[in-house]
C-alpha cells in the first residue's frame, strides 16, 4: 500500500516540519518514505507545500499530482489542493483560518481549529501540531504512539515545550476520534 | 687563467633549472625568476614549494624553476594557490603573474585571495603591456603609451587610468604585505630580492598574504633598447607607480 499526503499552508506555519515528522516516523516503522518540498518562489509567502509518500514498497515517482490526503492550513492551499485529492481521500482543514468547507462528496473532511488550540496551550506557533494530530488520528498513515515517541525525542530537551506540544497533539488526535 | 683556488660566488641557484629561457633579450622575467629561485634556496624550502604559473609570457616558467609547478588558467593562479594552501598549509605556494593575468582577467581571484588573507605569495610582474599576445593594451598601460590595441596611445578618457594594483590591494582591511619594487637597475634588483625574501618569510611564518609588484621592462613590445627601456620605466612608470611598501602586517591598521 502506498499513501500520499500533501501538507500545505503559508511559509512559516510549520508545514515542512510536520511533513518531516510523518516521514521520520514512517521510516522508523520500517516503511519506504519520501519527503519532497516545493521549493522556489512559493517558499517566500504564498503557499508552501511538501509531499510525503509512505509505502511498503520502493517508491516510484516522488511527485504526486493526486494524493489521497491533503492537510491545508490556509485558504490559498485549500483552493489549490482540494480539487486534486483522489476520490475516497481526506482533507484536513485548518478551520481557524479557512472559513469554507469542501463541497466534494467523494472525500472525507475534517475541520481543526488549529490556531485556537495552539493559543490555548500557550504555543501559538504550534498550530501545525494540532493539524498533524488530527491528520494522523484520522488517516492512520502512521501509528499515533510512534508519532508521540518521535515528538518526545524532538522536543525532549525542553520540558515545557514538549508538554504543551503533547497536549496540542492529543487534542488534534481527539478531534479525529470524536468526529468519527 | 688559473681557477683552482677560486670559488664561485655567484651562479645559477639550485631552484632554477639549467635551461635557456624563451624570453626576448633584455626581458627582466629572467632576473625575477632567478631572484625567486635564490630566495627559495636561501630559505631552504625548495622541496616543499609549489609554484603556480600564469598565462602570459611567463607561461612556461615551469620549465625554468626547479620546483613542483602548476600551470593555471588565465588569471586563476590565486585560486589554484588557495586550493593548494587550504588543503596543504604545510606547503609553500607562490603565484607568478603578469599584469594582464592578474590585473585584468584575474582581478576577481587576486582581490579575494588577498582579502581572505591566503598564506601564499604573489610575484606580480607589471610591464605595462600584454607581452605574449604581441603588445596589446594592459590595464597597467601608461596614459599615452602606444600598443597594438591603442595605436594612438592609451586614451584614459576611453579606457580609464592605469590600475595601481599594489595600492588597490593595500586598501583591503585584511593584514598583508604589499610592496612595489623594480628591476630596471642593479640597486633596484637588490631591493627586489629583499622584498621577495621578506614576502616568503611572512608565508613561512604563516603571518599573512604577500604580494610583490615588480615593475619590469618589455623592450620588444615597447620598441626600445634595453637601456632606453630602463630609462622609460624610471621616468614614466615610477612617478605613476611609486615604489615602496604599501602595507605591512606590522602596520596594517586602516
Amino acid at each position: 500500500m502506498q499513501k500520499e499526503v500533501t501538507f500545505a499552508g503559508f511559509g512559516g506555519q510549520g508545514i515542512m516540519s510536520i511533513g518531516q515528522f510523518v516521514a521520520y516516523t514512517g521510516m522508523e516503522e520500517g516503511s519506504e518514505v519520501v519527503w519532497l518540498p516545493s521549493y522556489g518562489p512559493e517558499m517566500r509567502g504564498g503557499t508552501a507545500y511538501c509531499t510525503v509518500v509512505v509505502s511498503d514498497r520502493p517508491i516510484g515517482s516522488p511527485i504526486i499530482q493526486n494524493p489521497q490526503y491533503a492537510v491545508v492550513m490556509n485558504r490559498p492551499s485549500f483552493d489549490k489542493f482540494e480539487p486534486t485529492i483522489k476520490p475516497g481521500g481526506l482533507i484536513v482543514i485548518n478551520s481557524s483560518l479557512i472559513d469554507v468547507k469542501s463541497r466534494r462528496t467523494d472525500i472525507d473532511q475534517l475541520g481543526v481549529p488549529a490556531n485556537e488550540i495552539a493559543i490555548k496551550h500557550g504555543l501559538p506557533r504550534s498550530a501545525n501540531i494540532a493539524m498533524l494530530g488530527a491528520f494522523v488520528g484520522r488517516s492512520g498513515i502512521i501509528k499515533s504512539n510512534n508519532l508521540k515517541k518521535f515528538i518526545e525525542k524532538k522536543f525532549g530537551s525542553r520540558r515545557e515545550v514538549l508538554e504543551s506540544n503533547m497536549k496540542i497533539l492529543e487534542e488534534g488526535l481527539g478531534i479525529a476520534e470524536n468526529s468519527q | 687563467m688559473e681557477r683552482t683556488a677560486e670559488k664561485v660566488v655567484f651562479t645559477r641557484p639550485e631552484a632554477m633549472k639549467n635551461a635557456v629561457t624563451h624570453y626576448c633579450p633584455g626581458c627582466t622575467h629572467g632576473v625575477i625568476h632567478r631572484i625567486v629561485a635564490e630566495v627559495i634556496d636561501e630559505l631552504g624550502i625548495r622541496d616543499k614549494t609549489v609554484g603556480v604559473g600564469p598565462v602570459g609570457c611567463s607561461v612556461l616558467i615551469y620549465n625554468y624553476m626547479n620546483v613542483d609547478f602548476l600551470e593555471a588558467a588565465h588569471g586563476r593562479a590565486p585560486a589554484f594557490a588557495t586550493g593548494i594552501k587550504r588543503v596543504r598549509p604545510d606547503l609553500i605556494a607562490f603565484t607568478y603573474q603578469g599584469d594582464g593575468d592578474l590585473a585584468s582577467i584575474g582581478m576577481g581571484e587576486i582581490v579575494h585571495a588577498a582579502n581572505r588573507g591566503e598564506k601564499f605569495t604573489t610575484i606580480f610582474v607589471n610591464n605595462a603591456i600584454y607581452g605574449m599576445t604581441g603588445g596589446q593594451m594592459a590595464p597597467t598601460t601608461m596614459p599615452g603609451q602606444v600598443t597594438t590595441t591603442c595605436p594612438l596611445g592609451r586614451n584614459t578618457k576611453d579606457t580609464g587610468e592605469p590600475i595601481r594594483m599594489a595600492e588597490l590591494l593595500s586598501a583591503l582591511k585584511t593584514s598583508a604585505f604589499i610592496t612595489r619594487v623594480s628591476v630596471h637597475s642593479p640597486r633596484h634588483i637588490v631591493e627586489t630580492k629583499k622584498a621577495i625574501l621578506r614576502a616568503f618569510r611572512y608565508q613561512i611564518d604563516k603571518v599573512c598574504y604577500s604580494l610583490v609588484e615588480v615593475l619590469s621592462i618589455c623592450p620588444t613590445n615597447w620598441g626600445l633598447t634595453t637601456k632606453e627601456s630602463a630609462k622609460w620605466l624610471e621616468e614614466t612608470m615610477i612617478p605613476y607607480y611609486p615604489l615602496g611598501d604599501k602595507k605591512t602586517p606590522e602596520h596594517s591598521q586602516r
Binding site: S61 | D68, F69, A79, R86
Partner: protein
Amino acid sequence: MAKKLMKGNEAIGEAAIQAGVRNYFCYPITPQSEVAEYLAKRMPEVGGMFLQGESELAVGNMIFGAAATGERVFTTSSSPGISLMQEAISYIAGAQLPAVFANIVRGGPGLGGILPAQSDYFQSVKGGGHGDYKMLVLAPSTVQEAVDLMMIAFDLADKYTNPVMIIGDGMIGQMMEPVEFKKPPPMALPPKKWAANGCKGRDPVIIRSLFLDPLRLEQNNRELFVKYRRMQAEEVRFERYNVEKGNKVLIVAYGTTARICKTVIADFKARGINVGLLRPISLYPFPMAAVAEAAEGVKAVLSVEMSMGQMVEDVERSVLGRAPVGFFGRVGGVVPTPEEITVEIEKLL
C-alpha cells in the same frame, strides 16, 4: 548503521565525509546550497577544510590547485554555476587530475529557474568546456543512490585521474529519503606519483594542460582517449527494470524521471501491458549495448527526459534502427507526470 532520513543535498555532503574526504570548496546556488550549509557545520567537526570562494569560476580553479597536491577534493553546484566551472573542468581533464563535482541541475538556458531539470545532459556528457575530453558522469535516481555513487566517486576519480560528475536533478537534492552510509570496498589505486606536493627526494613535477607542440598535444589527447575507452569497458552502469521478452515499449530514462516511469510501468502491468525501463546510471559512458539489447523486439523506444531532447540522441545511437525512437520531455522545472507519460506510451502501442 541505522537508516537516517536526509535531504539529498545533505546526504551528498555526508557521503563525502563518510568516504573520508576532508576538502570542500563551494559557492552557494539554489537548489544545492544545503550541501554548502551542511558542510560548513560538518567539516570543522571532522577537522576538514571548508571554503566558500568568490565565484564558481574561482572555486573550480581552487579544485584544480587542491587536487594537484594529491588531496581528495570536491565541490557542488547547480547548472549556471557548473557552466562557470567549465573552464576549470576542461583544465582538470587536460591535466589529468582527480576531482568530484556534483551538479544539482536546474532549468535553463541562462538564469532559467530553480526547479528540477535534466537539461545539462549535453553539458556534462558531451563536453561543456573546451577541447576533447570526457568526464565520468553518474546519475542517481534516489537519495540512497546519490550517497552510494558519491562514496565511490572519489575512488573512480583517482582510478582514472579524471573529473567525475554526479548529476542529479533538483529533486535529488531537495527530497528527503532514508539513507544508509555503507563504505564500499576500497579499490586498488595506483600511487599518486604525479602529485605536486614538494619535490623532496625526487625531481620536480609539472602539472599542466599546455602542450605547444602539436604532436605532443595530439599525444596527450590520444592518452586521454585510451583512458576514456577504459571507462567505456569498465564503468558502464545501468538498471534494467521490467526489461523482458514481450516488452511492447522500452522506456529509457534516468534520475528522478526514471522513477516516475516506474510508476507508469506498474500501472501498465496492472493492465496486462508489458513496458520495460532501461535506466542509465552512468550517462558517460552511456550503456549503449544494454539499451540496444533491451530494444530488441520492442515496438518502440521512448526517451523520457526533463529536457527538449538530449539523451535521446544517445538512445538513437544505441538503438540503431532496431525500433523507432520517440521522445517525451517537459522542461523549465515542469516534471512529467505519470499520466502524460502513459498517454505517450499509448500512442506507441
